[in-house]
Amino acid sequence: MAKTAPTDDHSEGMDHFDSRARRILTLWLPLACFVFVLLFPFYWMAITAIKPNYQLTDYENYSPFWVVEPTLRHIRYLLFETTYPAWMWNTIVVSVVSTALALVASVFAAYAIERLRFRGARMTGLLIFLAYLVPPSILFIPLAVIVFQVGIFDSKLALILTYPTFLIPFCTWLLMGYFRSIPYELEESALVDGATRWQILTKIVLPLSVPGLISAGIFAFTLSWNEFIYALTFISSSENKTVPVGVLTELVRGDIYEWGALMSGALLGSLPVVILYSFFVDYYVSSMTGAVKE
C-alpha cells in the first residue's frame, strides 16, 4: 500500500481500518481456529451421545455433523443397565479423598521446604520434583506389587493411596512457588506479634494462598479424575472401577463399540470437572498469573 502524505483525519481513518482488519486477522481468526479445534471433540462427543444407533454409521442419508431425532436411549442405558453410577461414585470418592490427602501433605511439605530453612531443604525439594518425573507407566509395576502385598488390591483404597504419589510432588511444587511469593516480612511480623509456626501457617500463609490451594486442588482433582493406568491395573471387579476405565473396558465388547453409551459416559464424566473449573476459574487464573500483593 502506498503511503500518502498524512493529513491527520485521513491517516487516522486508514489506521483505524487497518488496525481492525489486522485485529481480525491476527487475533480473532487464530482464536476462532483454536477454539474450534478445542471444542470440536466435545461437540462430537455430545452429538454422538444423543444420536440414534442407525444414524451413527450411515453417512449417506444423515450428516455426521448433525442429529435428527435425538434420543436419550444411550444415557438411559448407561445409567440403568450398566454399573456406570457406581463408577461415577468411585471416581468421585477416589478423586476427592486423594486430592485432600495430597493437598494436606503438600502444604506441609511446601511450607517446610520454603520457610523452615532446615538443612537439605533444597535437596528435598529437588528429590520430590524428580519423583514427579518418573512416569506412572514405569511406576505402576512396583506399585502393583506393594498394593497386592498390603492387601488393598481391587479397592478404592488402592487408588486413594497411590494417586498421591504423583499428586503430592505436583502440588508441592505448585505451592512452593506460591509460598515463595508471600513476603518474609509478613511471617516475621506475625512472629513478633506472638504467633507460633502453626498459627503463622493457618492464619497468615494459608489464607493468603487460597488461589494457589484452589488451583493445586483443581489440578490434583483433574489428574485423579482422568487417571487411567493405576485404575486399570489395581482394580479388577466392574463395580470398583472408575469412569475412564469402566467406560473403556465395559462398553467395548470385543470389537463392538457401543459408541452412543461410550460418548454419553465420557460426556457425563467430564461434567464435574467442567463445573469445578467454571466455579474457580478466577482464582485459578489469578494464581497462575499473579502473586500475593500487599
Binding site: 516475621e188 511480623s189 512472629l191 513478633v192 506479634d193 506472638g194 507460633t196 498459627q199 489464607p207 500487599e294
Partner: protein, 351 residues
C-alpha cells in the same frame, strides 16, 4: 517500658562477621536512633533485638532479662517494618488486633483497645478497610497502630518512613515523635537519613561497617563529632574536609592558605591534620579567600560551592551572595564550626 542493654553484640553470617561487638545502653523511655550508611548492620542489629536473627555473640537484655534465647513473642516488643508488613487479608481493625487475638483476648476487649489507638492515629474511619485500599501514609499508621495496641516494652522501627514521599515523611516524623512523647515507650528506630535521626532522637547511635562510631545526643554529635566518619555523616550539607599541616598560626593548606584554629586540642605542631569546616559556619566579610564556582540561592540562604586552598568546599550563607562564578570573596569562619582531626586515624583532636 523497659531499658535495653546491648553488650558486645556480634553477628556473623557464616565466616563473615557483620557486627563486630556493639555496645549500646538504652534507658527506659528513651528514643534511640540507629543511623549509618547502607549495609552497616543497622537492620541486623534491630532484628537481633527482635529475636528474628540468631545472636552470634554478646548479650541483649530487655529490662533485666537476658533475651538472647527467647523467641520474638516472649520478648514483649513490637516492630514496624519498612514495607509495613500488614496482613493483606485482614482489615485495619483485624491487623491492629491480631496480636491480641493470638494471645486469646476476647473480641470486645480487643475492640476496646483498637479504638483508642486508631483514634490517636486518625484511623478511626478506616477500620473496615483492607490494606490495599489505603495510601502509603495510612498503611504506615496502621503498622504503628498494630505496635501501639500491643503496649509493648519496646518499639522497634526499621526505616518506617523510607517508602513515603518527602512531604509525608516530614509530617510522619513529627507524628512518631509526638506519639513517643505521649506513650513514653522505649523506642529503637533505624534510619539511614541523618535528618530523621537529628530531628527525632533523644540519643543517636552512629554505625559504620558493623561498629558503633559514636553515641550521643543529636547536637553533641553535631558539635563534637568523635571522628571523621561522624563529622561527615551528621550535618547537611556535609562538613568540608581540608587537608593541611598544623602549626602555631593555624592549619596551612597545600597552596599556602592559612586557616585559623582557636581550639587546637591535642594537635601538635607539624602534624598532618584534616580541617573540618561546617558549611553553616562561613560568613561574608573576612580574609579567607574563596573562589566562587556556583551559587545556589534558596531564598533564605545561599549555597556557594567554591575553591578554598585547592579543595572544593560548600558554604551556606545567611546573607545574599552576589558574586559571579570565578570571582573571589573573602569569608569569615565561626570558630564553633571548626573541627580538627588527625589525618592518619581520623580521630578528633579539638576538645
Amino acid at each position: 517500658m523497659a531499658s535495653v542493654t546491648i553488650d558486645g553484640l556480634r553477628k556473623s553470617y557464616g565466616a563473615t562477621e557483620v557486627l563486630h561487638g556493639v555496645d549500646v545502653d538504652i534507658a527506659e523511655g528513651e528514643f534511640v536512633v540507629l543511623v549509618g550508611p547502607s549495609g552497616c548492620g543497622k537492620s541486623t542489629l534491630l532484628r537481633m533485638l527482635a529475636g528474628l536473627e540468631h545472636i552470634s555473640g554478646g548479650e541483649v537484655r530487655i529490662g533485666d532479662r537476658v533475651v538472647n534465647h527467647l523467641p520474638p513473642k516472649d520478648r514483649d516488643i513490637a516492630m514496624v517494618f519498612q514495607n509495613y508488613a500488614l496482613y493483606p487479608h485482614l482489615t485495619v481493625a483485624e491487623n491492629m488486633g491480631f496480636s491480641l487475638k493470638l494471645s486469646g483476648v476476647r473480641k470486645a476487649q480487643i475492640a476496646e483497645k483498637v479504638r483508642p489507638a486508631a483514634e490517636i492515629l486518625g484511623l478511626a474511619h478506616l477500620l473496615d478497610r483492607y490494606p490495599r485500599q489505603l495510601s502509603g501514609g495510612q498503611r504506615q499508621r496502621v503498622a504503628m497502630g498494630r505496635a501501639i495496641v500491643r503496649d509493648p516494652q519496646v518499639f522497634l522501627f526499621d526505616e518506617p518512613l523510607s517508602n513515603l514521599d518527602a512531604k509525608l515523611r516530614v509530617s510522619m516524623r513529627a507524628e512518631i515523635k509526638n506519639l513517643h512523647q505521649r506513650l513514653k515507650t522505649t523506642t529503637v528506630y533505624v534510619t539511614h537519613d541523618q535528618i530523621e535521626a537529628m530531628t527525632m532522637a533523644d540519643k543517636i547511635v552512629v554505625m559504620h561497617d558493623g561498629i558503633v562510631e559514636q553515641i550521643g545526643a543529636p547536637l553533641d554529635l553535631y558539635d563534637r563529632p568523635a571522628n571523621l566518619f561522624v563529622a561527615g555523616f551528621i550535618g547537611s550539607p556535609a562538613m568540608n574536609f581540608l587537608n593541611g599541616v598544623f602549626g602555631p598560626d593555624g592549619v596551612t593548606l597545600a597552596d599556602g592558605t592559612v586557616l585559623p584554629v582557636t581550639d587546637a586540642g591535642a594537635a601538635k605542631a607539624g602534624q598532618q591534620v584534616v580541617y573540618g569546616l561546617r558549611p553553616e559556619s562561613m560568613a561574608l566579610g573576612g580574609d579567607v579567600p574563596l573562589t566562587v564556582e556556583v551559587t545556589e540561592p534558596t531564598g533564605a540562604e545561599t549555597y556557594v560551592v567554591g575553591q578554598l586552598g585547592g579543595a572544593e568546599v560548600t558554604g551556606v550563607f545567611r546573607t545574599r551572595v552576589t558574586a559571579k562564578p570565578g570571582e573571589q570573596i573573602g569569608i569569615r569562619i565561626d570558630p564553633a564550626g571548626i573541627h580538627l582531626f588527625d589525618a592518619a586515624s581520623g580521630a578528633r583532636l579539638s576538645h
